[in-house]
Structures are given as structure tokens and as C-alpha cells.
């Protein structure tokens, strides 16, 4: 079976429908003073797909994710989101457009309970004003209960019911990673960015996390862009892979295409200079 990946939408071998382009990055260049972190990179992310960004350390992967989530402003290039060019905006405004992300070194709110952390993920769904919240009547209470129900679904999905009321500071690393994923998922994002979701995990935890990522994509149709170092995981999970090295894009395509790309092999295994 051949699939035309340039079509508006197509069906993958395992039966998922990949839709049109959600996020289109055009000729992004990001500089920190004299250091060029990202050099003229273009790629797109399509609806419903799992898109991986890989590359050796310092390749500019995390910087790329920070550009997408609005934390860094690229000096050149355009970010197109759902068919329109994104004007310069603050990260919280980007989040309102439907982007959610997790962080390489966990960025949870340590002093709050798991439930409160996950509820914070839904802050764009709640708009009771300060006065309504102060008297806890009408809209404020209604929203709180509705969103609690939505959060409980995420909690069930990620199997963290038992730690609902535990302060995040007391949790072990693997669970924190899962809670962070829950917080991002609770926002019902149209694009979910995962920065090394499996860093520092053992095989069992990696398997759990992979299952959650696949299930998320399958059940909720969440579009996911992820950075990961474990090649086995990346090749198994993703539909398409972007490979970066020294801020440049050196490969882009299906896992099989990337695996056989000579530039990629050189970047990972090194090449003899004679």
C-alpha cells in the first residue's frame, strides 16, 4: 500500500487519519548574540500525527520547542498555526490558542497537590471573575465542578488516582513526569509538545509512557510533537521525524527514511575526515 503524504489527509497503516497541517514553521532562525541556535529550519506538523524531533545534544531541539511555544522569539522566519500567521505574542497567549507542553526538567508546582496542578492546566476553560470566585457562588462553583470532572477523566486515563491529593513535592520522579503530562493533557490542546518525556526513566516506565502517548493520540486524536533521545522509542512511536544537528535540519521523513539517510547516520555515528 502506498500513501500519498502530500495529500490533504491520509490514513496510516494502523488506521489513524492524519489531517492537514496544524503548525507550519517557515525558515526559522534563532540567534543568541553570536551563537546561531537554529538556522533556517522549516517543517510542519499535521493534525493527528506524532512528530518527533531528534538530534545530538546541543542540536537546538529544545530551542525549537521554545520557539513553537512562544518562549523564544526567532529573529527570522514565520510560525503558521492553523492556517494563519502567528503575530508576536507572549507565551500565555500562545497557550490560549491551544498549545500545551511539558518540560525537560519537570516544571510542576511543587507546593500544590496533584489535583491542583492538573486543574491549573484547565485555566483557559474557566473564566469566572474575581468577585464570583470570592463568594464561591454561581459560575465559580459550577466551573470548578465541571472542570474537576474533566480532570478526573485525565487522572483515570493516566492512572494516577491514588496520588490525587498528594503534594507534588513528595512524589518520585516517574510519577512527576506523568503528572506533568496530565496537566498538559487537561488543557485539551490541539498541539501537545513533549520535551524528552522519557528522560531518566527505566524500561518499564518508558513502556508505560509510550503507551500513554499512543493512547492519547489514538483516543483523543491529540497532535503530538516530541523530543526524545531513545531511538527505539522514537522510531516506534512517530509518524514522521525531523533530525537536527548544529541548528540545521539534516533529515525529515518517516522513521524508515530517516534511518537510511546518510547525513543522519553521519551525525549520530560520526564520519571519518580523511
Amino acid at each position: 500500500m502506498t500513501t500519498d503524504m502530500n495529500a490533504d489527509s491520509y490514513v496510516t497503516e494502523d488506521g489513524r487519519t492524519i489531517g492537514p497541517v496544524v503548525m507550519d514553521l517557515k525558515n526559522i532562525t534563532l540567534r543568541f548574540g553570536g551563537v546561531v541556535a537554529i538556522k533556517d529550519i522549516s517543517f510542519d506538523i499535521r493534525e493527528g500525527e506524532i512528530r518527533a524531533i531528534i538530534g545530538p545534544n546541543g542540536a537546538g531541539k529544545s530551542s525549537m520547542l521554545n520557539v513553537i511555544s512562544g518562549f523564544y522569539k526567532p529573529q527570522e522566519g514565520e510560525v503558521w498555526f492553523r492556517g494563519s500567521k502567528r503575530p508576536p505574542m507572549r507565551p500565555y497567549q500562545v497557550a490560549r490558542q491551544g498549545l500545551a507542553r511539558t518540560f525537560q526538567n519537570i516544571a510542576l508546582f511543587e507546593g500544590m497537590t496533584v489535583l491542583d496542578n492538573i486543574m491549573t492546566g484547565r485555566l483557559n476553560k474557566m473564566n469566572a471573575n474575581l468577585f464570583q470566585q470570592a463568594i464561591w457562588k454561581g459560575k465559580a462553583e459550577r466551573e470548578e465542578l465541571e472542570n474537576r470532572e474533566a480532570c478526573e477523566k485525565v487522572i483515570d486515563f493516566l492512572e494516577i488516582q491514588h496520588i490525587r491529593k498528594t503534594p507534588v513535592g513528595r512524589l518520585p520522579y516517574g510519577l512527576k513526569k506523568r503528572v506533568e503530562l496530565a496537566r498538559a493533557l487537561a488543557a485539551e490542546p490541539s498541539l501537545l509538545l513533549l520535551d524528552e518525556p522519557m528522560a531518566g526513566m527505566n524500561v518499564e516506565e518508558k513502556e508505560d509512557m509510550s503507551r500513554f502517548i499512543l493512547d492519547m493520540n489514538d483516543e483523543f486524536g491529540t497532535t503530538i510533537a516530541l523530543i526524545e533521545h531513545d531511538m527505539g522509542v522514537v522510531m516506534d512511536l512517530s509518524d514522521r521525524v525531523v533530525v537536527m544537528d548544529y541548528g540545521k535540519k539534516i533529515g525529515d521523513g518517516t522513521p524508515d527514511e530517516v534511518r537510511n539517510n546518510q547525513d543522519v547516520i553521519d551525525a549520530y555515528l560520526g564520519v571519518s575526515h580523511d
Partner: protein
């Protein structure tokens, strides 16, 4: 043995969200409210109100305000005294200018004015954090006190530079001025305290509170998941100053009756309220009460023990009081850096299992 959640099944998220999830806690809360509203007012006299209840209630309001800013939103402030002065002077000007309007509204509007001033002085918090912000709020403290001393309009050009609370009443009961009865003083402070505590609890358990705590715990992550840092910090300054302003208005109008900015609302007041919040527990409503109670009651208790029971001379007792209270603060902070609220939390966790060790 009796203090546990076993058998108390929650069948809705509303039940699960309530402030006191354990039955005994709920009962204790209602009993405390009943005693405070229906029993104590019939027994209080001037001594109890002036040395214990009024300062305790008013400082608890101020501590709740500061706890929202420092404990929940993580913005250190040393300007509490200055903001209390804004509440006091605003209340004074309103009382004099509009004598026909109920004093309750004056106090609330004074809180609103303080909220606006608090937001203005909170603007630097967008750029600076931690100790540097503390220094910026210290500037607010000195500026505000200087302003109320220098500009005679604020104290209506009175010769002494003091402001004096005129007699005002609520529902025909005098609550300010020298003719106020003890129970009326007690009641008005209590009503404001219960209202403020209820609002503080509602705000901190909802989305506003989560935004504040998000900014406190990790501001960059909070912004990336959608918290507008400007709105979160400004709302924290506004709500905090509103409460502190109410405390200042009551402190002047109901408790002191007459005030002078430098003396009543100096830097020591800022530190006193900050101590209450730290000793009570940052980020805890109960901690605000516990801290205020500790700082108000401990000196009174020591004085009674040293002078009353042991018969020491008053001057020596007064000096010793400072040493002992200071020592107790240090000891408490070493034993439990998270304050009385954490101590209470640990006690409750132990109680839940008692008489078994695990």
C-alpha cells in the same frame, strides 16, 4: 480514634471540595463560630476586647492579606504598615466627608482605595523578585508614612497631626469613638474577620489561588501553561491590599480611635505582620489566624504570668517579655520552619491514626 474520615463517604465533587473534609473538623468549625457570635459577646469586657480580641481579629485580617501576597503568590512585601495607613487615612477622610453613610461602607471603600494603591506599588513586581521586591515595597512603606505626615490635607489640618475617629454607628449601635461598648467593638471586628477569611478561603481554593501558587512555585512554567503574570500578580496585590486596608481602617477607627501615621503604622507594623505570617505558616489560612494569635496573645500571657502570678516589677517584666517572645520565635522556626499551620497539620495526621502508630 474519633478523628478520621473513615465512614464519611463523599459522593459528589462538591462534597470532596469542601473546606473541612473531616466531620469532627466541620463540627469544630461550627461550634467555634457559634461561641464567637452567640456566647462571647455577652461576657466580654473592655479589658478582653482591647487587649485580646480586637487586636487579634484585626491583625488576623492583616495577616490574611499579607499571606495572600507572600504565602500564596510568593511576592515578599514589607509595605504592610504603609498599606494599613492608607486604609486608616482613607477611612478617616470618608468618615469625615460623608458622615451619613454607614461606616461599614467606609471601611470597604477604604479597602478598595488601598487595593488601588497596592496595585500601583506592586507594578515593580513584574520586573523584580525576592529580596529586591522586598526593598521596593519598603520604599512604599516609607513613602506612604512620609506622605501622611507631610500633607496636612490627609489629617484635615489638625494641630496635633493626628487623626481622630468621630462617633459612628451601625444599625443604631455605636461602633467608633469613646462611647463604644466592648461587645460592639468585638462584633464589628469579628464580622469583618469572618467575611475576609471566607473570601480568602474561596479565592485560594479556586482558579485564582492556583494561578497565584503557580506564579509562586514556578513563574515561567505558569506563564507557558497560560497564566498571565501581570494579571496574577496584580490581582494578588489588589486582594492582599484590600484586606490589609480593611485591617488598617478597623485598627484606626475601632481599635485605636486616634492615630498618627509614623507611630501607628511604622515599619515595625510591617515586620509584626510578616512575623505573624511566617510563624503561622506561609500559604495557609489557618496559619494567619495562628500567627496573629501567637503574636498578640503571647505578650499578654507573659505579662500576666510574670507580673500577676510571679509578682515581678512591671518594667523588668516588660523587658523580659521581648526576650522571651523573641526566643520563642527562634525556637519555633527551628522546630518547624513551616510554621504553626504545619504543626497543626502534623498533629491532625497523627490524630487520624491514634492510638495506633501507623
Amino acid at each position: 480514634m474519633f478523628y478520621r474520615e473513615a465512614g464519611d463517604f463523599k459522593t459528589s465533587y462538591r462534597d470532596d471540595n469542601q473546606t473541612f473534609p473531616i466531620r469532627l473538623d466541620r463540627a469544630g468549625y461550627w461550634i467555634a463560630l457559634f461561641v464567637a457570635f452567640c456566647v462571647i459577646p455577652f461576657f466580654v469586657n473592655d479589658y478582653w476586647v482591647n487587649s485580646i480580641f480586637a487586636p487579634f481579629f484585626i491583625y488576623a485580617i492583616a495577616a490574611l492579606g499579607l499571606n495572600i501576597l507572600t504565602g500564596y503568590a510568593g511576592q515578599v512585601s514589607l509595605g504592610t504598615g504603609g498599606f494599613m495607613a492608607v486604609g486608616a487615612y482613607a477611612c478617616y477622610k470618608l468618615m469625615v466627608a460623608f458622615p451619613d453613610i454607614n461606616i461599614v461602607f467606609h471601611v470597604l471603600i477604604a479597602g478598595g482605595i488601598t487595593a488601588a494603591v497596592g496595585v500601583a506599588f506592586g507594578l515593580p513586581s513584574l520586573r523584580i523578585k525576592g529580596f529586591y521586591l522586598a526593598v521596593a515595597t519598603l520604599a512604599a512603606q516609607f513613602f506612604l508614612v512620609w506622605l501622611f505626615n507631610k500633607v496636612a490635607w490627609f489629617y484635615n489640618y489638625s494641630a496635633s497631626g493626628q487623626i481622630n475617629a468621630p462617633e459612628r454607628s451601625v444599625f443604631g449601635i455605636v461602633v467608633t469613638g469613646p462611647n463604644t461598648e466592648a461587645w460592639a467593638k468585638y462584633m464589628i471586628c469579628l464580622v469583618f474577620l469572618v467575611g475576609v477569611a471566607w473570601m480568602a478561603r474561596n479565592l485560594t481554593r479556586g482558579m485564582t489561588g492556583r494561578k497565584w501558587m503557580g506564579i509562586r512555585d514556578m513563574d515561567i512554567a505558569a506563564e507557558i501553561i497560560g497564566v498571565n503574570p501581570l494579571m496574577a500578580k496584580m490581582s494578588a496585590f489588589a486582594v492582599s491590599s484590600f484586606f490589609v486596608g480593611i485591617a488598617g481602617a478597623l485598627f484606626f477607627a475601632v481599635y485605636l480611635g486616634a492615630a498618627e501615621a509614623g507611630e501607628s503604622f511604622g515599619i515595625t507594623k510591617s515586620f509584626l505582620v510578616l512575623f505573624m505570617v511566617i510563624i503561622g505558616g506561609l500559604g495557609s489560612i489557618f496559619g494567619s489566624f495562628a500567627g496573629a494569635a501567637f503574636m498578640v496573645l503571647m505578650p499578654v500571657l507573659l505579662k500576666n504570668v510574670l507580673v500577676g502570678t510571679m509578682g515581678w516589677p512591671t518594667e523588668i517584666a516588660a523587658e523580659l517579655e521581648f526576650i522571651i517572645v523573641g526566643g520563642l520565635i527562634v525556637i519555633f522556626l527551628i522546630l518547624e520552619p513551616h510554621g504553626l499551620a504545619q504543626l497543626w497539620r502534623l498533629t491532625k495526621e497523627k490524630l487520624r491514626l491514634w492510638p495506633f502508630p501507623h
